[in-house]
């Protein structure tokens, strides 16, 4: 009796080992069976990612820089942000991090596109159906709170080390905000406006594309911004499974205690984060300007 109270009645060591072994063995069998097929599914993404990365790295740097600045300017419409970005990129280049930065930009870009492409439809589904919301919410909770190393294990077991597993890890980590905020944005759309759309005979499709999505856009944009930030935060962890970019020197700096190297690359990540954040935020502000009546 005393034993029962002082020690939690746990499974015997043999049973636990049996469970864990069985679980691992069956997963291993699964990945041996289907790993190649699943990898093939991601081939187009891989080709695109490699093409995009090569494009950024192999094009002459002034052209890439000018393109970046153009995107930054037309995204933010702010001279200050553009000039700040110019200096940030020049410093990155001078300190020898241009190539790694291009890798990081390309993987962040592809991850963001994937997250938007998957996240917005899932968010819409959640907003439309209570059941979808009930199913998705706990899954999103797990995705956001599960330590990322834990889901790196099965991804690596399944697909090995390389770009695609890294991409998957980043997307899993970064996609929840865009799903949640798309769902929230659509659910928050003014009921009376929806009623008006109904009263004028809009079908569900017209309602979604002409009323719900446009009105939810500012919230969705906040989600995209969050997603980009989380993807950036993930690059160091993703570099552990072979994703090239600014994360790898950071990892090297940690293992070898190179403080300066870690600091430089860390600051480059910070610079990218600030640029992405400012541009996406001011773009988000601009598309909703007429709502607040601040134009003119």
């Amino acid at each position: 009796m005393e034993d029962f109270l002082s020690e939690f009645p746990e499974l015997s060591r043999e049973t636990l080992r049996f469970i864990k072994k069985g679980f691992d063995a069956s997963y291993r069998a699964f990945s041996r069976e289907y790993g190649d097929a699943i990898e093939a599914v991601f081939d187009p993404v891989l080709y695109f990612l490699v093409w995009f990365e090569k494009l950024l790295q192999n094009s002459p740097w002034p052209i890439v820089l000018i393109c970046f600045l153009a995107v930054i300017y037309f995204g933010s419409r702010k001279i200050s942000v553009t000039i700040g970005s110019l200096f940030a990129f020049l410093l990155i280049g001078i300190f020898g991090m241009w190539e790694d930065t291009m890798s990081t930009v390309s993987i962040i870009g592809v991850c963001t596109m994937l997250s938007i492409g998957i996240g917005i439809p899932v968010g819409v589904l959640m907003a439309k159906s209570e059941r979808a919301q009930r199913i998705c919410t706990p899954i999103l909770d797990v995705m956001q709170t599960m330590p990322s190393f834990v889901y790196l294990i099965p991804v690596v077991m399944l697909l090995g080390i390389g770009k695609i597993p890294g991409l998957l890890a980043v997307v899993i980590y970064a996609i929840p905000p865009i799903i949640r905020l798309t769902n929230l944005g659509i659910r928050e759309v003014d009921k009376e406006v929806l009623e008006a759309a109904d009263a004028f005979g809009a079908n569900p499709r017209q309602k979604l594309f002409q009323v719900q999505l446009p009105l939810a856009l500012p919230t969705i944009f906040a989600g995209i911004n969050q997603t980009i930030m989380m993807a950036l935060a993930m690059v160091v962890i993703a570099s552990m499974i072979g994703v090239k970019g600014l994360g790898q020197p950071v990892l090297k700096a940690i293992t070898n205690q190179y403080f300066a190297m870690g600091l430089f690359n860390g600051l480059a990540i910070v610079a990218l984060a600030i640029i992405f954040d400012r541009v996406s935020q001011s773009f988000g502000h601009r598309i909703q300007q007429h709502r607040s009546g601040s134009r003119e």
């Binding site: 008006a196 759309a197 009263a199 004028f200 017209q206 709502r291």
Partner: protein
């Protein structure tokens, strides 16, 4: 008499988990408070019967919670009733499938909302176009039609503005233009002017009456304001706690309120401004014309009362638009009505 356009019959609406069983209770005579307390259901509408005539303005009046907004939403079936029927032009709205209901909403009805319900990301023109856009009307034609109505409600020059840049009154003009551009025969107005300042509200009422003179739509107008109801309504229905207390022309409601509730409501109304000569005249039977005064049937008492006091006629002869004598009004009757 004109045709019945909208016929609402034995309409019940109960909000709650199990409205069907609550309906039985209500039909057995359980009242609103008891239903809420014992069965946790809210009685929205109880046994509403209302015939709305073509080309007339039917006002539905009541305080908040009386079920008036619920009632208007049954006409285009934004709310499903628990029991009863809504027939428009001989067709039961409640039996339509999704597709024909959408079609009905697109072509037959248009709605104006209390808080405007405009799309903030679209300009005035785009908002006005909304109904036609939904119907996939040719862009050019839609544009012409929308611009005509924007002009008609006095918003020319504001086509490219966003709703947030406009005042409440102007936003509701957009709402009205959007509804009129849709060109349905039925105009549903849910407290359309309640959110506006008194002066602007009066403007909008005048615009509506002016347009109605020309367009002859069937208008269902919801309001909580008796003065507004009396001003624009051809007929008025008074709702209280989901039950229709009285329905009739404004003068009848003023002169012979059926329930205490209606009585309280109409007590402070200036009758001279609401009652027209035709409402209170009696049949002619050989009245003396010598010292008589002639009034138009559509004149409010307000218009001729000063003259009655100064001229002291023997009686008033009521004439219609063709100048035929159609009735008379004794000064005694007039003073009774004004004294109440």
């Amino acid at each position: 008499m004109s045709e019945i356009k909208i016929q609402i019959k034995n309409l019940y609406k109960i909000f709650g988990k199990n409205p069907k069983s609550a309906l039985e209770q209500v039909k057995d005579g359980v009242n609103k408070d008891e239903l809420l307390e014992k069965h946790n259901h809210v009685l929205g509408l109880k046994d509403i019967n209302l015939d709305i005539k073509e080309k007339s303005i039917q006002v539905v009046m009541g305080l908040s919670g009386s079920g008036k907004s619920t009632l208007i939403r049954h006409i285009n079936r934004l709310i499903e009733p628990t029991d009863g029927s809504v027939v428009v032009d001989g067709e039961d709205v409640l039996k339509m499938n999704d597709e024909s209901l959408r079609n009905f909403r697109r072509t037959k009805t248009a709605m104006v909302f209390q808080r405007f319900a405009l799309l903030p990301h679209k300009t005035v023109l785009e908002n006005t176009l909304f109904g036609l856009h939904i119907q996939k009307v040719d862009e050019k034609e839609a544009n012409t039609r929308a611009r005509r109505w924007i002009d008609r409600v006095g918003l020319s020059g504001y086509e490219e503005k966003y709703p947030q840049h406009l005042s409440g009154g102007m936003q509701q003009r957009v709402g009205l233009a959007r509804a009129l551009t849709n060109d349905g025969e039925i105009l549903l107005m849910d407290e359309a002017f309640s959110a506006l300042d008194p002066l602007i509200r009066k403007d909008m009422q005048d615009i509506l009456l002016e347009l109605q003179d020309e367009l002859h739509k069937t208008v269902v107008f919801i309001t909580h304001d008796l003065d507004e109801a009396l001003k624009i309504g051809d007929r008025i229905a008074i709702l209280k706690d989901g039950i229709m207390d009285q329905e009739g022309i404004p003068a009848d409601i003023l002169l012979s309120p059926k329930t205490q509730y209606v009585k309280d409501f109409v007590e402070d109304v200036n009758r001279a401004r609401v009652i027209k000569a035709k409402h209170i005249m009696s049949k002619l039977n050989g009245q003396d014309r010598d010292n008589a005064m002639f009034v138009d049937q559509d004149d409010f008492i307000d218009r001729f009362i000063d003259k009655v006091i100064s001229d002291k006629p023997s009686c008033l002869i009521v004439k219609n638009k063709n100048n035929d004598e159609i009735g008379y009004l004794s000064t005694k009757r007039l003073s009774e009505i004004l004294k109440r």
